[in-house]
C-alpha cells in the first residue's frame, strides 16, 4: 500500500514536470500586431497525404509567400491580409477524431492563431465544427465534401468556400445525359465510406430525376484503400451498363484504372470519374478515351482561363514541377476567400485590424473571384460556397504524350446546387426544383 502511494506521488510529480516542459517547448507566441497567424491543417502522413494533404499544403505555401510579398495579381495584390503578413503553423490532420480535436484546440488556445484553414476528411470537419463554434474560432474548411456541416445547424464561425460534393454528382449526371441521351443502364463503383456512399446516392438521385427510365445495374462498394478490384471488374464486365460512375480518387482510382485497363473495361462502358482530374497526369493513356472527367469544381485543366488562374498554375508548376490539382485550388481559394473577407472588414474600419466577429460578418454571403471560377457564399446561411462546375471528356494526345479534356461543359452554380434553404438530399429527391441552368 505504501509503495503504491509513493509510486503514485512520484509519477504524478514527474508527469506534471513533463507537462510543464511540453507547454514550455511550444511557447505561446506574443501577439504581434503586425501579423496574422494562420493555422493550416491537412494530411501530412497516411494515404491522404499524397493526393490531398501535400498538394493542399503546397498551394497554401506558394500563395501565402506571394501574398506576403504582395505579388498575387489583382485584386489580391495587397500584402498578406489587409497589409498584415501571414504567419503559418502547419499541423498533420492524421489520427483519431480525439487527436484532431485536441490539435484544433491547441492551435486556437495554445498557439493563439487568428484563423484556421484546413481539413480534408469530412469526419474531421464534422468533429471540429462544434469546437470552432464553442471557441469562437474562425475556421475555413477547405476540402471536405459532406453537405451535413451547414445542414445540421446554422454555423457562425465556420465557413466553406469550396462547394460541397452534391454539385459534383448532380453536374456529372447532367453531363452524362447531355452527351449520351440514350443511357438505359448504369453502374457505380464507390468506396465503402461516407464519401463514396454520399456520392453514389446523389448521382442516382439526380439520374432518376433527369432520366427516370435509366436503371441502376451494379452497385459496388469496395473497402476504402482496397487496392485490388479484380472481382469488381469481373462483375462489371458481365454488366450491360453504358456508364460507370465512380467517386474514387487518387490511389484507389489509379489502382482501379490500371486494373480495368488491363482487362478492357473501358471499351465496354464509359467511365465517369468525378475526381479524375487530380490523377490525370499520372494515369496518361490508361484512362480510356471518352471517359468523363471531373475536377470537383472549375479547377486544373477545367478552370477558366483567367489571369489569376494563369498566375497560380505558373508559380505552382515552377515550384513543384507539376500543375496544381483541385486540392491545391481548394486550399488556395479558401485562403483567398479569407483574405477577401478580412479586407472587406478592414476597409470598413479604415484599414485597422478587424476583430474575428467583424471578419465573420464580412465573410457571410461574400462573393469573390477565385482561381478557377467565381465563388458565392450563397447557401448554408451564407457560409457555404457555390461555384460554377465543369465536366469534360478525356482524350489522350499521342503527339504531346499527355491527356487533354475536350467537350467541356460549364454548369452554373445554381444549376448543380440546391437553393439557399433546402438541404441537398431533399432537393434532389424533390426533383431538383429551382435549378437554373441557362
Amino acid at each position: 500500500m505504501k509503495n503504491y502511494a509513493i509510486r503514485m506521488l512520484r509519477s504524478g510529480a514527474a508527469a506534471l514536470a513533463i507537462a510543464a516542459f511540453a507547454g514550455g517547448a511550444a511557447p505561446v507566441q506574443a501577439q504581434d500586431a503586425g501579423s496574422v497567424k494562420l493555422g493550416l491543417v491537412t494530411f501530412l502522413s497516411g494515404p491522404a497525404a499524397g493526393p490531398f494533404g501535400v498538394p493542399g499544403r503546397n498551394g497554401a505555401e506558394i500563395l501565402i509567400e506571394a501574398l506576403n510579398a504582395g505579388k498575387v495579381p489583382a485584386p489580391y495584390n495587397t500584402v498578406g491580409l489587409g497589409g498584415l503578413k501571414i504567419e503559418t503553423k502547419i499541423i498533420d490532420e492524421s489520427g483519431s477524431a480525439a487527436n484532431v480535436v485536441s490539435e484544433y484546440r491547441n492551435l486556437v488556445q495554445r498557439d493563439q492563431v487568428d484563423a484556421i484553414v484546413g481539413y480534408v476528411s469530412s469526419g474531421n470537419c464534422l468533429a471540429v465544427t462544434p469546437v470552432a463554434e464553442e471557441l469562437k474560432a474562425l475556421t475555413v474548411l477547405f476540402d471536405c465534401g459532406t453537405p451535413r456541416i451547414f445542414e445540421e445547424k446554422p454555423r457562425k464561425y465556420v465557413f466553406r468556400v469550396t462547394p460541397h460534393a452534391t454539385q459534383d454528382n448532380v453536374a456529372a449526371a447532367r453531363y452524362v445525359l447531355a452527351k449520351k441521351k440514350n443511357v438505359t443502364l448504369y453502374s457505380g463503383i464507390n468506396q465503402n465510406y461516407a464519401w463514396g456512399q454520399d456520392s453514389w446516392r446523389d448521382f442516382v438521385g439526380a439520374m432518376s430525376v433527369l432520366a427516370p427510365k435509366a436503371k441502376v445495374d451494379k452497385e459496388l462498394f469496395p473497402k476504402l484503400f482496397a487496392g485490388e478490384y479484380g472481382a469488381e471488374i469481373s462483375t462489371l464486365l458481365t454488366s450491360k451498363s453504358q456508364v460507370l460512375h465512380t467517386s474514387f480518387y487518387d490511389g484507389d482510382l489509379e489502382s482501379f484504372i490500371y486494373q480495368q485497363a488491363a482487362r478492357g473495361l473501358g471499351k465496354r462502358m464509359t467511365i465517369l470519374a468525378t475526381t479524375a482530374e487530380s490523377s490525370m497526369k499520372r494515369l496518361g493513356n490508361k484512362i480510356p478515351d471518352g471517359s468523363i472527367i471531373g475536377a470537383r469544381g472549375s479547377n486544373g485543366p477545367l478552370a477558366r482561363d483567367t489571369e489569376l488562374n494563369k498566375w497560380f498554375v505558373k508559380v505552382y508548376t515552377d515550384r513543384y514541377g507539376t500543375a496544381p490539382t483541385y486540392p491545391s485550388y481548394h486550399m488556395a481559394q479558401s485562403i483567398i476567400g479569407l483574405k477577401a473577407a478580412w479586407e472587406k472588414a478592414a476597409k470598413a474600419k479604415n484599414d485597422a485590424k478587424p476583430t474575428i466577429d467583424e471578419v465573420v460578418a464580412a465573410f457571410e454571403n461574400l462573393q469573390f473571384e477565385a482561381f478557377g471560377s467565381t465563388i458565392k457564399l450563397a447557401i448554408g446561411h451564407g457560409h457555404q460556397g457555390i461555384a460554377e462546375i465543369a465536366y469534360g471528356t478525356y482524350k489522350f494526345n499521342k503527339q504531346k504524350n499527355e491527356g487533354e479534356i475536350v467537350d467541356v461543359v460549364r454548369f452554373p452554380a445554381e444549376c448543380a446546387n440546391p437553393p439557399a434553404d433546402v438541404n441537398a438530399e431533399d432537393w434532389i429527391k424533390g426533383g431538383m426544383k429551382g435549378a437554373k441552368c441557362d
Binding site: G50, L220, T238, K286
Partner: protein, 298 residues
Amino acid sequence: MLTAFAILTDGLAYAAYLFMVAVGLTLIFGVMKILNVAHGSFYAFGAYGAAMAAGIYYDRGLPEAGGFLFMILLAMAIGLVLGLILERGVLRFVYGRDEVIVVLVTYAVFLILEDVIVFIWGPQSYAAYQPMVWAGNVEIGELVLSNYDILLVAISAGLALFAYWALKFTRYGRLLTVVIFDRETAAAFGINVTVVYTVTFIIGAMLGALGGAMMAPKISITLGIGVEVIVLAFAVVAVGGMGSIEGALVGALIVGICRAAAVHLMPQIELFVIYAVMALVLVFRPYGLFTRAQPRKI
C-alpha cells in the same frame, strides 16, 4: 455459371495476392514465434522499390520483359537489407520476451518505417503498371482476364510448391522444420538457432517485399498501403493456422473465394466478410485450420 466461373477466377487471383503477403508472415511466425506487424512495411518497401526499379528501367526504353525481373530483384534486395537490419539491429534484443511484447516491437518498427518511406520516397504516389499492360489479356466468353493475374496465380502456386519442396527436401528446409517442431530439441541437436533466425527473418522480409513487388503493377503505390496488408495477412494466417505454410495457402484460398463470392453475390457484406470468416474459423478451430494446440504435459 458465368458468375461461378467469375467467382472462381477472381477468388484465385485474390488468393494469389493474399498468399504472397501471408507466406512470409507465417514462416516468420512458425520459426520465430513472432507475429510481425512490420511485414506490412516489407510489402510497402517492396512495392516502392519495384516502382523505383520500373522508373529506372522503363525510362531507358529497355525491352519490356526484363523490367519485371528487375523490379522483383530490386524489391527483394531491399527486403534482404531491411530484414537483416531489423533482425540484427532490433529483434535479437527482444528474443525470449513475451510474444505480445515482440508484436509491439514490430509495431514500433512499423510506425518508424512508415515515416522512413515518406523520408525516402516523399508523399506522392508511384506507379509501375508497365508489366501488367505488357502482359495483355485474354477473353473467355464475356469475361476478360488479365494475363498478369494469371501470371500471379502461377507465381503463387510456384511459390507454394517451392516452399513445400524447400522444406521437405533441402537441408536448410529440414532444419527449419525441426526448429518449427521443437526449438529445444533443435538447440540440443546443435543447430545454430541464431543463424536460423536471422536467415528466416531475411527470407520472410524478402517474401514480403516480393509480395509488394508483384502487386506493384496493379496498384497505385501510396503511403499507407502497408497498413491494409497487415490485417489481411493476419486474417489469412489466423484462418490457416499460424506458422503453417499449407495453412497460409488454404487460408488464402478460403478468404479469396469468400471475398469474391461476396462481391458477386452479396456486395453489402464485402467490407467485413474477411473478418467474419476469420472469427468463424477461430470459433471452431481456435488455432486455425492447420495447427493444433499442443496439450501441456503435467
